[in-house]
């Protein structure tokens, strides 16, 4: 056990796996000599060589596409996209190449690459350095998505992603990179993809979230318990493809109320999918419509800032209070 921040835990996971599996390689912009703009891969090029930790040209399409080829042959490439706001030119390569190879070849080939995408707001990043791109990678199928928000999850889910036989997109929590530390067991144990964590037990409402907001939601839940006795259950999804439907259904049936909180914009944010599924599976149990708290359908503005874009305590609190008061 060691105390690590999120950057260190991600690095430890990559180092562990590179140490134990020669097929694991890293590629991306500035990941080698500079160790990545967040220093996530710092030291790895010196340790594993420039053949395994590769500085690429500034071409996200090319990074993803070459990772597909590397993976087809049997390597396990970890491709870093510098910021998830720059992933979009790789959309075709990720969703319609990597994610489809197994199916289109009748199971003959597959491209189990890992895409690391630093994501989420909170660093005054403006429209490109604050994105949550998951929705573009959920629809259509063929790629898994994990979203760790603690050092231990970062470690264990990145390991799981690397070992997974399918492509995996990992959305990393930029705002927590260095601000959140915790104990990490650096023993090469991977988490199971698809399993949520109930981080607070409660009986009044199920608040479902993922990403850095996990911490904000938890804080509001604690606060409301103290101030008003509202007893919320808080669930961190951790994986969004596939997600832990049993955990959610069990919780929502029990509480009768659900709120989804995420950083991606409203329309066709992942909340929409969760609501569609949960209203069907929990219909008779719901005493209020399922609510969602998320940014509006527009980009992140540098100067208006994170407070008025990503769900803040006020908005989470409002949703929790109002769902308890709901009457029809």
């Amino acid at each position: 056990m060691a105390v690590m921040n999120v950057i260190e835990s991600l690095r430890a996971a990559m180092a562990w796996e590179m140490e134990h599996d020669d097929d694991v390689i890293i590629l991306g912009e500035d990941v080698g000599t500079a160790g990545g703009i967040f220093r996530t891969t710092e030291g790895l090029q010196n340790r594993f060589g420039a053949e395994r930790v590769i500085d690429t040209p500034m071409d996200e399409c090319g990074i993803a596409a070459h990772a597909v080829g590397l993976a087809l042959y049997g390597l396990k490439p970890i491709a870093e996209i510098q910021f998830s706001g720059f992933i979009h030119n790789a959309h075709e390569q990720i969703m319609f190449c990597a994610a489809k190879y197994r199916w289109i070849t009748g199971g003959q080939y597959s491209a189990p690459l890992v895409i690391r995408a630093p994501s989420f707001g909170g660093i005054k990043g403006g429209a490109w350095h604050s994105q949550s791109p998951e929705s573009y990678y959920i629809h259509g199928g063929g790629i898994k998505i994990v979203v760790p928000s603690t050092p231990q999850d970062a470690y264990a889910l990145l390991l799981a992603a690397i070992r997974d036989p399918d492509p995996v997109l990992i959305l990393e929590p930029v705002p927590l990179y260095r601000t959140l530390s915790g104990e990490v067991t650096d023993n090469g144990e991977a988490a199971e993809i698809g399993v949520a964590e109930t981080i607070r037990r409660g009986s009044d409402v199920s608040v479902i979230t993922y990403g850095p907001l996990r911490h904000d939601v938890l804080a509001v839940a604690e606060e409301l318990q103290a101030s008003s006795g509202l007893n919320a259950e808080v669930i961190d999804l951790r994986s969004i493809v596939p997600y832990d439907v049993e955990c959610l259904v069990e919780s929502v049936k029990r509480t009768g109320r659900a709120i989804i909180v995420h950083e991606a914009p409203y329309s066709l944010g992942f909340g929409a999918e969760l609501i569609a599924e949960l209203q069907q599976r929990c219909f008779g149990y719901l005493v209020a419509p399922i609510d969602r708290v998320c940014p509006p359908d527009l980009p992140h503005s540098y100067r208006v800032g994170d407070e008025h874009y990503k769900p803040d305590a006020r908005r989470i609190r409002a949703a929790m209070r109002n769902i308890m008061k709901y009457e029809y």
Binding site: D23, I25, E51, R52, I54, T56, P57, D59, C61, G62, A65, H66, A67, V68, G69, L70, A71, L72, Y73, G74, L75, N89, E92, Q93, F96, C97, K100, Y101, R102, W103, I104, T105, G106, G107, Q108, Y109, S110, G141, G142, K144, P165, D166, G194, P242, V245, E246
Partner: protein, 385 residues
């Protein structure tokens, strides 16, 4: 050529252009054979035996027959789609022969030579056209989009050109693993306009993986002629922008294609990747959905007829005394028989069940897919008329 009504409906097909191959020497397009199949070109004859060359020709001949029968199957409604390869037989046969069987080949959409030359069966090939359940891709892809892992033949995603960096990445991986596996990536002139061509060339120039990029320039991308595809007169020299060696070869000359591809393969570890532009001509329709009369003059194909790879190869073999009319007649019969047998076999195979489409989305299915599958089956019951 076009009547007035036709002229109003469509644009004006441009004047037929003479074959680039008529100016091969001047343009630096490498050749062994001249138009009449004589070894008169800038390259000397590669080291190929009589049997090997006969096999080249026989395969080219078979490809043409497959193409003709496939077209008819489509026209008669027995298969939904066809992608002609007429005129482009030499480049694919010779390039395949130049590679080793362990080498990976990424095909575009007009190359069936690797399938035939690497020991996969004609029956299974036709099974693909019919979408049989037991063909390697489980009947999922359009007819003619053939891929077969057992012979290292990859059919990438359907976006033209999207797989060029995959070819490069596979070669790079093989190099990192220290395997003696090279990669041949085949793509068209149109594909060079796509982002992935740019990415692949750029990465290849830097990383020097053992990949041979073969741009099969067949003069057209659907209705788009070369000068609407790029203002640069040739495709090979695009490699210069990326530090990738390159050359132009007569794609209708199997000896030349073999010679340059073989050399490229032999030298690729030492000298790095090569971009080979193989000049050929699409004699047929773009696909069974196409109508070339709208955009090109019929006379244009005639200008390429003398450069037909089958004709030139046959002349070459005859010149050597390695091919007789009797050989030709026997081959003709044999091809027809084999193809008929393949059609009979392939068309009688099972087609995939509706449930089979749920396989291979992921290595293991998950609850959501399973629930979708169950729901569909349930709906089929509940929704019966």
């Amino acid at each position: 050529m076009l009547d007035q009504k036709h002229q109003d409906r469509v644009g004006n097909p441009r004047e037929a252009e003479e074959s680039i191959l008529d100016r091969a020497a001047e343009l630096g397009v490498l050749q062994v054979l001249d138009k009449e199949g004589r070894a008169n070109g800038s390259l000397s004859e590669p080291d190929l035996s009589r049997d090997e060359l006969r096999y080249f020709y026989e395969t080219m001949f078979l490809l043409r027959r497959i193409d003709e029968r496939g077209w008819k199957l489509q026209r008669s409604g027995r298969i939904a789609f066809w992608i002609p390869m007429r005129g482009q037989e030499a480049v694919q046969v010779a390039a395949t022969a130049a590679m080793h069987n362990d080498d990976w080949i990424f095909r575009a959409h007009r190359e069936m030579a690797p399938w035939l030359m690497r020991g996969a069966s004609l029956n299974d090939l036709f099974a693909q056209f019919f979408g049989a359940a037991d063909e390697p891709q489980k009947g999922r892809r359009l007819p003619c989009l053939i891929g077969n892992r057992s012979i290292n033949l990859v059919q990438g995603p359907t976006q033209v050109g999207s797989f060029i960096p995959h070819a490069c990445g596979v070669a790079w991986a093989a190099k990192l693993k220290g395997h003696d596996v090279k990669v041949l990536g085949l793509f068209g002139d149109g594909a060079t306009s796509r982002s992935e061509f740019h990415s692949a060339m750029n990465f290849a120039g830097i990383q020097k993986p053992p990949v041979i990029f073969m741009c099969v320039n067949n003069s057209w991308a659907v209705s788009t002629p070369l000068d609407r595809q790029t203002a640069q007169a040739d495709f090979a020299s695009k490699g210069n922008a990326y530090g990738v060696r390159n050359l132009r070869v007569d794609g209708n000359d199997p000896l030349a294609v073999y010679a340059v591809t073989r050399q490229a393969r032999n030298e690729v570890d030492e000298l790095g990747p090569v971009l080979i532009e193989a000049i050929t001509y699409r004699l047929g329709y773009h696909t069974s959905s196409d109508n070339p009369d709208l955009y090109r003059q019929e006379t244009e194909a005639a200008l390429w007829a003398d450069w037909d790879p089958l004709r030139r190869t046959r002349l070459y073999l005859q010149g050597k005394g390695w091919w007789s009319d009797a050989d030709e007649a026997a081959l003709d019969v044999q091809c027809d028989e084999d193809i008929q047998a393949a059609i009979d076999d392939a068309s009688s195979r099972d087609i995939p069940s509706s449930q089979s489409q749920f396989e291979d989305v992921f290595a293991e299915s998950h609850w959501l897919l399973e629930s979708q599958r169950e729901r569909m089956l349930q709906d089929y019951q509940d929704g019966a008329e």
